[in-house]
């Protein structure tokens, strides 16, 4: 035994070393094919899946942001247009109001002037008619006074004749 120990330190056996290497190479190949590669490829596939999901979500987010910006732009344009229209409508309404007011004023003036003219005409006509009636009454009264004997009777007749048109 001591001789063997001196010949091969720690009893290293190169044949067994090679057997260990062969054993490990077989183990390496087996583990690589059966476990490492499939698990790693699955993890890679999952990573790609989630990266794709992330990319899709980002793309959708970007598209949504673009749409939002476009909608906001459109909304701003619509607001501006509505404001313009509102101002135009206000202007038109103000113009229309002014026009109508002018027309109404003119009409009112016309009505007033017509009324005044009619009133003047009616007044003149009434005055002339009253004058005629008064003249008739006066002449009738004068005739009656002249024709009647007593003065008091004539006076009563005059008063009756004068109150008759007022009652009518």
């Amino acid at each position: 035994m001591p001789l063997q120990l001196a010949a091969v330190p720690l009893n290293i056996d190169w044949q067994q070393v090679l057997l260990h290497v062969l054993n490990f190479v077989i183990l390496f190949a087996g583990l690589w094919l059966l476990l490492y590669k499939p698990v790693r490829s699955f993890m890679q596939k999952r990573r790609e899946h989630y990266e794709k999901m992330d990319a899709d979500a980002n793309a959708k987010n970007a598209a949504a942001e673009e749409k939002k910006a476009a909608y906001e732009q459109k909304l701003a344009a619509a607001d501006a247009e509505a404001e313009d229209k509102r101002r135009a409508a206000e202007r038109a309404a103000a113009d229309y109001e002014a026009e109508k007011r002018a027309e109404a004023d003119a009409f009112a003036k016309q009505v007033v002037s017509d009324a005044r003219r009619d009133a003047a005409q009616i007044k003149a006509q009434a005055v002339s008619e009253a004058r005629g009636e008064i003249a008739d009454i006066v002449s009738e009264a004068v005739g009656k006074v002249v024709l009647e004997d007593s003065t008091s009777e004539a006076y009563d007749q005059f008063l009756d004749a004068a109150s008759a048109p007022a009652e009518k």
């Binding site: 090679l18 260990h20 490990f24 183990l27 390496f28 490492y36 698990v39």
Partner: protein
């Protein structure tokens, strides 16, 4: 803790101590070994008296352990490949998470330490890590085999055999060398050969670490008085810790050196010396 609980606790402790003492007294002399501790430890290191026949070839028990570990790992891998991997889900379960963590850890180790070239390295350190870890824990199984001399021995860890440790150490060195050659051709060879002591240090680190564990365990088991409670700590916890540490050390060293030799060569521009400045400084120095 109430008084009642304290009493129960003390009674349990007293019963356990009494049972252990009774066991020590009663089993004294049952397991008298035919060999001395010196012979046992010498066998653990040199394997002179415990050769096993492998198809007629006398081999160390460590080689049988290595084959057993490989068989266990390959059968496990085949079962996982056939029954588990096809059912993998994007949201992993506990076992899938464990497998992914193991693969991801070694893959990450390879990528982190050797960013330029790591495809093969990741697979290699995964296999080496699994081999060292399971191989170290294998000694806990305590599988008995018959030696050529007719005695029964317990299969040790494969790397507690110097031949196994040399095989893995040298193979790791060859992997590092191959990485250097593929990445940097002759320069890679030079970089790897610069670390000529690496195969020896890697081999003997593995062998020494695992052998020391085996020797401590042998010592503990040899003396009967130490064979209660203590083997649980020495045998299980130390072996588990050992397995983790040795796996980490070898894979880390392999990836680190692989990354170093496979790093692309960057030619650094030589700093031009300013003659005037040199002259001035020379004259100043003379003055």
């Amino acid at each position: 803790m109430t008084k009642k609980q304290t009493c129960i606790f003390l009674i349990v402790i007293a019963v356990v101590v009494a049972a252990l003492l009774a066991g020590i007294v009663l089993t004294d002399g049952l397991y008298e070994s035919e060999t001395t501790i010196q012979e046992t430890m010498q066998d653990a290191v040199l394997h002179e008296g415990d050769k096993i026949s492998l198809f007629g070839l006398p081999v160390n028990p460590g080689l049988i352990s290595a084959f057993s570990v490989t068989a266990i790992l390959l059968v496990f891998a085949a079962i996982v490949r056939i029954f588990v991997i096809p059912r993998f889900r994007f949201v992993p379960g506990k076992f899938q998470l464990l497998l992914e963590q193991a693969v991801g850890m070694f893959d990450g180790l390879a990528k982190g330490n050797s960013p330029h070239r790591n495809g093969f390295l990741g697979a290699y350190v995964f296999a080496a890590g699994a081999y060292i870890f399971v191989g170290t824990l294998f000694e806990l199984v305590g599988a008995p085999v018959m030696t050529m001399a007719g005695a029964s021995v317990i299969l040790p860890a494969p790397l507690a055999d110097i031949n196994g440790a040399i095989a893995l150490g040298c193979l790791s060195y060859l992997v590092i060398l191959s990485g250097g050659i593929v990445s940097n051709k002759l320069r890679g060879v030079g970089r790897t050969l610069k670390e000529f002591s690496l195969p020896i240090s890697m081999s003997f680190r593995l062998f020494g670490a695992l052998l020391s564990g085996a020797l401590v365990t042998e010592l503990v088991y040899y003396y009967l008085a130490l064979s209660f409670v203590l083997p649980v700590i020495v045998g299980v916890l130390f072996t588990l810790l050992h397995a983790l540490i040795q796996t980490y050390v070898l894979t880390m060293l392999t990836t680190l050196f692989y990354g170093e030799v496979s790093e692309p060569y960057v030619k650094r521009p030589k700093a031009k010396k300013d003659k005037r400045q040199n002259k001035t400084s020379h004259s100043e120095a003379t003055v």
